[in-house]
């Protein structure tokens, strides 16, 4: 990258013009760092971490649908069993919650990378326009979702922190019982302010993934006409499933349909 470019600058030593594979001179770590340092590499990593997070968000929503499943004969809510099941995967070969922690660490890494890449690229771009336009911009192609990725991303970030404190640690929940997921969700979302915040945050999430999924094809370098044809549909479909599923929880609890 930076070092390679030196090769064609006029006046450089002639021997530098000879072709040289980049792998000859960089270790894996220095390669990753310089890849991440370039905006295109960083965007690529951002898209990959985005895919991982979208996958998580989708399955998180699917898992939560257990809330609607009637309790078994033992009277234990199915979503409580499901939550317990996630912790018990692989037991006794894998220690309790082992796989869960592997997934959590992977997810945390994906989030940290994604957030760092997102804010840093946004900041870099911002700095390249020190004097802003005076006239109001007329947007022809740039969608509302695409222009507000940092804002929707920030809302989602704040929400994730709140959501963990609310339903994982229970620190901001006034009737939290560890392990009783159904109880915690229903008593937690019963409050209109809390439910409203869940709704706003998930609408922001929807805008974020709507542009995110569409954009990802581009960032990962897909030039396939077949994929291009289904891109918008795919982004809209996945977003609709995630948003509708996630919105159903606060809405149905708030309206008393689930209690």
């Amino acid at each position: 990258m930076g070092m390679l470019r030196g090769a064609i600058v006029a006046g450089d030593n002639v021997t530098q013009i000879r072709p040289k594979a980049p792998s000859d001179e960089s270790t894996a770590v220095s390669f990753l760092l310089s890849f991440y340092r370039s905006q295109v590499g960083r965007k690529w990593i951002m898209a990959l971490s985005g895919v991982a997070i979208v996958g998580f968000v989708f399955f998180h929503m699917l898992g939560n649908l257990h809330l609607y499943e009637p309790a078994g004969p033992d009277g234990v809510a199915r979503i409580d069993e499901y939550a317990e099941g996630l912790r018990a995967i692989g037991e006794p070969i894998i220690p309790r919650s082992g796989l869960l922690w592997v997934a959590r660490i992977g997810l945390l890494a994906a989030f940290l990378v994604h957030i760092h890449a997102g804010y840093s690229l946004w900041w870099k771009s911002r700095k390249t326009r020190p004097v802003r336009y005076d006239a109001d911009r007329t947007w022809v192609t740039a969608s509302f979702a695409s222009r507000n990725m940092v804002i929707t991303g920030t809302i989602v970030l704040l929400f994730i922190i709140y959501h963990l404190a609310h339903l994982t640690w229970g620190t901001v929940h006034d009737d939290f019982i560890p392990g009783e997921v159904r109880h915690n969700v229903i008593t937690g979302l019963d409050n209109p302010i809390v439910a409203g915040w869940y709704i706003v945050a998930n609408l922001a999430l929807g805008l974020h993934v709507l542009h995110g999924i569409w954009s990802m094809f581009q960032s990962l370098g897909s030039t396939s006409p077949r994929l291009a044809a289904i891109r918008t549909g795919l982004a809209t479909g996945i977003t609709a499933l995630i948003v509708l599923g996630n919105l159903s929880f606060p809405l149905l609890v708030l309206t008393g349909v689930v209690s």
Binding site: M1, G2, L4, R5, A7, I8, P19, A21, P22, S23, F31, F35, S38, Q39, V40, G41, R42, K43, W44, L121, W122, K124, S125, R126, K127, T128, R129, P130, V131, R132, Y133, D134, A135, D136, R137, T138, W139, V140, T141, A142, S143, S146, R147, M149, H211, W214, S215, F217, Q218, S219, L220, G221, S222, T223, A228
Partner: protein, 253 residues
Amino acid sequence: MRVNLRVWRQAGPDAPGGFETYQAEEVSEEMSFLEMLDMVNEELVVSGGLPITFDHDCREGICGSCGLMINGQAHGPQLGTATCQLHMRTFSDGDTIVIEPWRSSGFPVIQDLAVNRSAFDQIIEAGGFISVATGSAPDANLTLVPKVAADAAMDAAACIGCGACVAACPNGAAQLFTGAKITHLNLLPQGQAERWKRTEQMVDVMDEFFGSCSNMGECTTACPKGIPLEVIAELNRDYVKAQFINRKLTAQD
């Protein structure tokens, strides 16, 4: 017709700038936007003022010299054309038109509405060329180019380097320009020898001057040549590929 202009005036690269208002009277609908500015400038000169500086050359949409931000749109409200191809019939009597230079730290203002676009030249210098053996001209049909590839390369080659993509981009990114140049050369057999080095080097120089692409697509809309967003995917693809490919085995550098 008569239009009110709010024009960015700035004496030099480091001078503070600001907006001045002018009234252009008796503007004919057939005038091009630049002819209207010429008329305003004539009056300014006659009245002892300094004319408004703006870039232009061919005035037929092929050289890429002109470029103004008109009412918040690069090259004005008419899509698919350069500023010089915009006519006053696009506006109505009594309109107020805000005219600003391209805004990007990669395009510093030289004076008034003229900006220094040599960052684009530097991107080109970094790899926007192919190496050919000198000597007698090669036979015209010696290198076969599939029609689809020739067409796509030609579409990308339509870029005139005006900078509207950067100006229109909310992020001030130059991916459409750089992508067009990379796509143009990387699709053709003649561009294969330096394919990966070219991509890497051009993207690295682009990175030094411009913002980061969020795939919003405002660039393609502003582009007088309608360069497709696809060239950005091509840029991304070849850049990442350049990092992993074994160049010794592909006979490409």
